[in-house]
């Protein structure tokens, strides 16, 4: 999940009696699975919640280039370098679709970027963890993209048309990302003792941060209840986290790697794995800016934005000159 703890109205879901006529008609469309399009009437809070959610998702794609970009120059073969470049290029492209989707809600990409850099808008907590060895490229693809897919697949059915269509395109590419990650893990797990050690170490470091990607339990959250009523959130965080654990445990077993959770076990009665919750205090620390890489990640993005100002201004000035020349002819 690339959007965590997105706030909605904070007031709980209105009953039909409490809704205005417009709100009732809007909710009826959503209940009938009719997509909401940019020019349709929508409650202001629906629009704001979507901007927060799509914006956070877009920022995550952009900041998410950095931990993988950290290894592009050190990729061990030409093929791996190409695959990683293609993947990071996809992520920048996902950012572009998502910013474009958010722009249909009346907020510009530049405004959202400024909000990211000022700390007003967030990106996924996962990208504040470092990538220390090549096996981390495997773990990021396998676990991080795996967790993202878990969330994005249902979001293809989300109520807002542009967001839903962006998700459909993104999901196609994400499954390739996850496969390439698992493929790296496979090579590492079957490789030399050092490679196996890297693979296990990567799993140890990325397991709990991946579980945190779904956000804390939102079973009782008024924000989530509203977002689910509006179908901009389809499943609860706990449902998705469980699904992710159930899917990932057999994959780890196949790799011959151990999930770093001594209490992990199959629960036949529930038909699911029981597992240890991540340390939520760590999660809140990371969200507040105290993760291992928050300073570097935001610093990198801020530098890129500020050092790129002359480029954006230069290209804009040239475009204006050209337009003026064409108009004069």
């Amino acid at each position: 999940m690339y959007a965590q703890m997105v706030k909605s109205t904070g007031k709980g879901v209105k009953t039909r009696e409490e809704m205005s006529e417009d709100e009732r008609a809007f909710q009826d469309k959503i209940d009938a699975d009719t997509k909401i399009e940019p020019r349709d009437w929508m409650p202001e809070e629906y629009r704001k919640t979507l901007v927060r959610q799509i914006g956070q998702h877009a920022h995550s794609e952009i900041v998410g280039q950095l931990p993988e970009g950290n290894w592009i120059t050190r990729a061990p073969t030409l093929e791996r370098k190409m695959i990683l470049l293609a993947k990071v290029q996809d992520e920048a492209g996902h950012g572009l679709y998502l910013y474009a989707a958010a722009e249909t809600l009346g907020v510009s990409r530049d405004e959202m970027t400024e909000d990211l850099l000022s700390g007003k808008m967030k990106y996924s907590s996962i990208f504040n963890y470092p990538t220390l060895t090549w096996a981390d490229m495997g773990a990021v693809g396998w676990l991080v993209d795996g967790a993202a897919i878990m969330n994005q697949v249902p979001l293809q059915r989300t109520s807002y048309g542009p967001y839903s269509r962006a998700m459909i395109r993104i999901c196609k590419e994400e499954s390739f990302h996850q496969r390439q990650g698992y493929d790296i893990m496979m090579k590492m797990a079957q490789g030399s003792p050092e490679q196996k050690r890297m693979a296990q170490d990567a799993l140890n470091r990325f397991w709990y941060p991946s579980l945190m990607m779904f956000g804390p339990s939102d079973a009782d959250s008024v924000h989530s209840a509203q977002s689910m009523a509006w179908k901009i959130k389809i499943n609860t965080n706990d449902e998705l986290r469980q699904k992710f654990v159930d899917q990932t445990v057999p994959q780890a077993e196949y790799l011959g790697l151990s999930i770093p959770d001594p209490d992990l076990k199959w629960n036949a009665e529930r038909g699911h794995y029981d597992f240890t919750e991540p340390d939520w205090q760590e999660f809140f620390d990371v969200i507040k800016g105290n993760g291992p890489c928050n300073t570097e990640r935001l610093g990198d993005r801020t530098r890129a934005w500020e050092e790129g100002r002359w480029v954006r201004e230069g290209l804009m000035a040239h475009a204006n000159k050209r337009a003026a020349r064409i108009a004069a002819e």
Binding site: L96, Q195, H318
Partner: protein, 256 residues
């Protein structure tokens, strides 16, 4: 390909082509996630990806011609500085975005002419690689030329920066047109053109773009050379290789 061809010369020629794309592709990939605008991040990653793809083709062939059981990856990751045959231009540091795009254009302009000629090579493999690379290069040169023009003819600051980039890089352009015994052997075998023969078209193309960009080409620039013959490199290449080759050197013989 003629059986009589000097295989050492052919291998050297292929290394020159593949090392140019490898080192430039690596440099461009250093930008990942740090471009001035999202579209540029995508374009830079795409350019790097194309260049590394071309590297794979050139170095695969170089390794085959060498016939010593080495792979393209061995050539990329296990040679030291003195065995690299790229021109010095491509190993120079990225500098600011303007310097990166100016270097890209100065290379792309050369590649667009070189690849055009190589599509008529007597060597089928060279022809095939050039055909594929030329398609990618057509997009690269269009984009790098547009960006050089946009920034050269942009604001006062962007103009000043682009002129500084051109002044710094231009002394490294001359090496692209140096001819030696390897080139003579390639001309003789009909594999590749004489580099010196590309200069006229290059000057015409670069002159046009710089005029649109309102930039002034340095007159009688000194020519730094030695990369493509392997007699000299800049100090920058060693650091680039330290990064690029680190995993293969630290954990030799592994499969990745």
């Amino acid at each position: 390909m003629a059986d009589t061809i000097d295989r050492t010369a052919l291998q050297q020629f292929l290394l020159r082509m593949g090392d140019n794309t490898l080192i430039l592709g690596h440099r461009v990939s250093e930008w990942c996630g740090h471009a001035p605008v999202l579209e540029e991040d995508i374009a830079l990653a795409n350019t790097a990806l194309d260049l590394i793809g071309q590297t794979q083709l050139w170095l695969d062939y170089a390794a085959e011609v060498e016939g010593a059981g080495r792979s393209a990856d061995d050539l990329a990751f296990l040679r030291d500085v003195w065995d690299f045959r790229n021109v010095l231009l491509v190993e120079l540091p990225n500098g600011d975005f303007g310097q990166t795009l100016m270097r890209q254009f100065l290379y792309d302009a050369w590649a667009s002419i070189m690849l055009g000629r190589l599509q008529k090579s007597a060597d089928e493999r060279v022809r095939e690689i050039a055909e594929k690379a030329a398609k990618e290069n057509a997009y690269h040169v269009e984009r790098s030329a547009d960006t050089v023009v946009g920034l050269g003819d942009g604001t006062e600051e962007s103009h000043t920066r682009m002129q500084a980039a051109l002044d710094y890089l231009y002394p490294y352009v001359g090496e692209l047109f140096e001819s030696d015994a390897t080139d003579a052997a390639m001309v003789e075998a009909g594999v590749a053109p004489d580099p010196a023969g590309l200069r006229e078209d290059y000057d015409a193309l670069v002159g046009r773009v710089m005029a649109d960009a309102t930039l002034r080409l340095p007159e009688k620039a000194y020519v730094h050379r030695g990369g493509r013959s392997g007699t000299m490199h800049t100090e920058h290449l060693g650091h680039l290789l330290c990064t690029m080759q680190w995993l293969q050197r630290a954990y030799p013989g592994c499969r990745w």
